[in-house]
Amino acid sequence: MICVVLAIKLFKNKKLQLSILVLSSYLFYYFSSGFLFVLLLFSSLLDFYVGKKIFESKNSAKRKFFLILSLIGNLGILAFFKYADFAIQIANYFGDSLGFSTLPLFNIVLPIGISFFTFQTMSYTIDIYRRKMSPTNSFLKFMLFVSFFPQLVAGPIIRASTFLPQLNKKRLKILPSNLKLGLTYISWGLVKKIVFADNIGPFVDSIFTNPLGLNSLPIMLATIAFGIQIYCDFSAYSDIAIGTARILGFKFPKNFNKPYFACNPSNFWNRWHISLSSWVRDYLYIPLGGNRKGKIRTYLNLLVTMVLMGLWHGASWNFVLWGFYHGAILVSYRFISKYDFKINKILSIIITQYLVFLGWLIFRLRNFEYLGYCVKKFIFFDFNLDLTETIGFFMTNIWVFFLIVLFCYIHFFSYRAKDIIEKINSRKYLSWFLYLLFVILLLFLFSPSLNTAFIYFQF
């Protein structure tokens, strides 16, 4: 990153600057996924060419053909690398009962960030097809859009209509205001990931490795801890990506907006992984008919959209179930909301979050025996507590509970303060320096000894 910033400062030629960014993005991908960087190149070539063809074609059948070509190309890569083994497992399951021989698994290594960049490129061709934007004439710019390293591996999913216009300025500049804001974003992201997510993770693992026999208390606490872990982990990466991009002069929209203050399921998806939820809304839910084709069809569209969104997270039944669960609560909410009864805001937040955290159980547990057991304990409270045992449990995990409480406080504070990062950034240099000092000290003191990868790298 330092080298990229220095290079951008050093060279004033825009083409050279963009080339440096593309090269460093490809290098970045090469170091994480080896020669699979050719997928980036393939995706870039395909959609750059297809985008142009769609735009130039007058014939609607031809336009459709090229769109389908792009979708097959992108979804084909995604399907092969992410879902092939899952599909074979399902085929083998049914094949066994019909007496067919078992198909061997490919054991494919999942290229990092594949779900993110394929969705980005698809948004480009679909937007051109819908005549919402015109294609770019510069392959270099398009390559950068597909491979831009800050958000390449774990999002946020940036649309071409957001990114490409930002490349139209005369040249890239490292502005002090962007540098300060970017560093604030990055440092805040690092605290969320290293201090919160990585320290809470081992506690969650210890409970969910084998939850059988535990009562509701540890299961509920571990579920809350996991909710915090995944939020801190994922939003941290988004913050780091937004901050890094900002330093280089790019403005990315927010990907999270205090999701644990959502007051209904629909509101939750307006706050959680906003770039993905808005993507599926615009490119999946609305094309399916959205809410324009009657109630039953709306419910069905919601369910299909959410199941596919669940599947986007990984090739596993628990993600499908998680998507279905969210689809079901969205449908239920839509059904109930037509009765127009008022409910206290705090109560509505509590109910929504209870449902969201129940969903995290489905997300976390791939073993269905464990899942069934935990869901039962989460719904039907069983606080068969032994006081000494409970105190022992809290004392053993006191550090984790401290972090959970601290997170709740910060989350509440950031909810009240609207945008905590902007607030920190707006402080004068001395206050900003003290913040930086405090954050670096926190990182020194509380980073766990082992490296922990970002959870969302796997998606």
């Binding site: 002090p176 084998n210 006191i398 020194f444």
Partner: protein, 492 residues
């Protein structure tokens, strides 16, 4: 002064070369006494100033005080830091020196500081010049906008460098505070209270113990919890018995104690083993090695250590310093428990208790209870994975270490007796017969090969004598200590 060097540019170039040569020469020196990656204030000062002056003179040489050549600032900074990295790579190939990331950070701090200072100087000069120039231009052409644009650009650069500077200072200051916290808060905890401290205390014990026909009881927490050396002392006062059991200890970990053990000339070593001693799946508390690594001479690391262990053993002071952050939480927990015990008159912290230095009765978890762990049956019923008790049929790192220790002790006329530590029959039932056969077969083979006695207590006591799966309760410990004491003196 700087302006003089700018004028006499070639001298600046010569100084750069001279500093680079001096850095290269100093890095080529192979100090045997200097531990790899040595960390101290002298090192910091040396690296900081060396690279501060290197980059300052390089800046003077390349930029020549001309604002138009400001792009050379980055070139100078990149060249300086690249030299810093190459210097560390160079040290990697020099005996007794090593590649140290921390040194690169200090170099970077020096380089950035020089860059910042120099930029301020030329910015000041530039603003002054432009101010004069701007006046004449505006008089002639009336271009006021250009003047404000230049001013804006300068302010922007000043702000940018202010941000870099604050970032570097925050990094350095945060590291300093961290250093103080570790030195004043974590280190005393590790030295006085932590369980992890036991390894180094045992090493210290070997050096300080007096010759009195010592018998050492080695093993994991099974031995540590199951043996009361005071009771054994009463059976035969001619010997001094010491319980040197250490939680989660395995033969591999004991290798570190081999040399000091031989030097302390004990009469016998009673080596307590259990299934986990030879398993491939036993959790290994690496920390102990890291923390006591400074006591070990690297040349003497036995060949059995794999790369991971060696890495921990050869952790330099800086790495160790950063590693110790994981003990902040236990230290705080310990402190809170101490405070709680003082105010509410509760029991002292159970897991982090100051050890008795006499290595006699060392139980810290269970010694005061005669009961069974109420959780044990439930945990056992729900436990599905017993892989940590699986003893493989093949040779592994633990078995090699075990045999090596036995050979070395016997060679030095130290009697070795193997004790199969007691196990709760309820747990024993869960261990597969293959592991049992491998365990028994291996010990039998060793015993015959090296002509040493084995005392098998694996299934002697019923579950009432146990606290949990492999720790005896108070009653069990008393009986086992007496039984073992009598048997040992019969053999000796």
């Amino acid at each position: 002064m700087i302006f003089w060097f700018e004028k006499h540019n070639k001298i600046s170039g010569a100084i750069v070369i001279l500093i680079a040569i001096v850095i290269f020469y100093l890095s080529s020196l192979s100090f045997e006494s200097t531990s790899s990656g040595g960390f101290g204030w002298k090192t910091i000062v040396y690296h900081f100033y060396a690279f501060f002056f290197l980059s300052l003179f390089l800046l003077i040489f390349l930029v020549k005080g001309k604002f138009q050549k400001r792009n050379f600032i980055f070139l100078a900074l990149i060249l300086s830091i690249s030299y810093g990295i190459s210097d560390e790579i160079h040290q990697f190939f020099v005996p007794f020196r090593s590649f140290t990331i921390f040194d690169i950070f200090v170099d970077l701090a020096g380089v950035l500081f020089a860059g910042y200072l120099y930029l301020l100087i030329i910015l000041g000069k530039k603003t002054k010049n432009k101010h004069i120039q701007g006046k004449s231009i505006s008089k002639k052409k009336g271009i006021i906008q250009k003047k404000s644009k230049i001013k804006k650009k300068n302010t922007s650069m000043k702000h940018e460098f202010k941000i870099y500077f604050l970032l570097v200072i925050a990094l350095i200051l945060a590291f300093g505070i961290y250093f103080l916290i570790i030195s004043l808060y974590v280190n005393p905890f590790l030295e006085n209270y932590s369980d992890l401290n036991r390894g180094s205390k045992i090493l210290q014990f070997y050096q300080e113990t007096e010759d009195c026909n010592q018998i050492y009881y080695w093993g994991s927490s099974s031995i540590k919890e199951d043996i009361d050396a005071n009771l054994i002392d009463k059976i035969n006062p001619a010997y001094c018995n010491y319980n040197l059991g250490n939680p989660a200890s395995t033969p591999l970990r004991r290798l570190i104690e081999l040399k000091p053990t031989i030097s302390s000339k004990p009469s016998a070593v009673i080596f307590g083993v259990t299934y986990t001693s030879f398993s491939d799946n036993w959790l290994f508390p690496y920390d102990q090695y890291a923390l006591i690594s400074k006591d070990i001479e690297k040349k003497e690391i036995p060949i059995f250590y794999n790369e991971t262990y060696k890495e921990l053993l050869s952790m330099n002071e800086l790495k160790l310093l950063l590693y110790k952050r994981k003990f902040i939480a236990p230290a705080t927990k310990n402190l809170l428990e101490h405070i709680r015990s003082k105010f509410f008159k509760t029991k002292n912290p159970s897991y982090f208790k100051e050890y008795n230095q006499d290595f006699k009765s060392e139980g810290i978890l269970l010694q005061e209870t005669e009961e069974n762990d109420p959780q044990f049956n439930f945990t056992l019923e729900n436990k599905k994975d017993f892989s940590e008790y699986a003893v493989p049929p093949k040779e592994n790192i633990e078995k090699s270490s075990f045999e090596f220790i036995i050979k070395e002790l016997s060679k030095n006329n130290i009697k070795v007796i193997i004790v199969e530590a007691p196990m709760n029959p309820l747990l024993l039932d869960k261990i597969d017969s293959e592991s049992k056969d491998n365990f028994e077969g291996y010990l039998k083979n060793i015993s015959e090969k090296h002509k040493i006695s084995i005392l098998d207590y694996t299934s002697v006591y019923d579950s009432n004598y146990f606290y949990d799966g492999h720790h005896l309760n108070k009653k069990g410990r008393e009986i086992f200590s007496q039984d073992l004491g009598l048997e040992i003196f019969r053999i000796i």
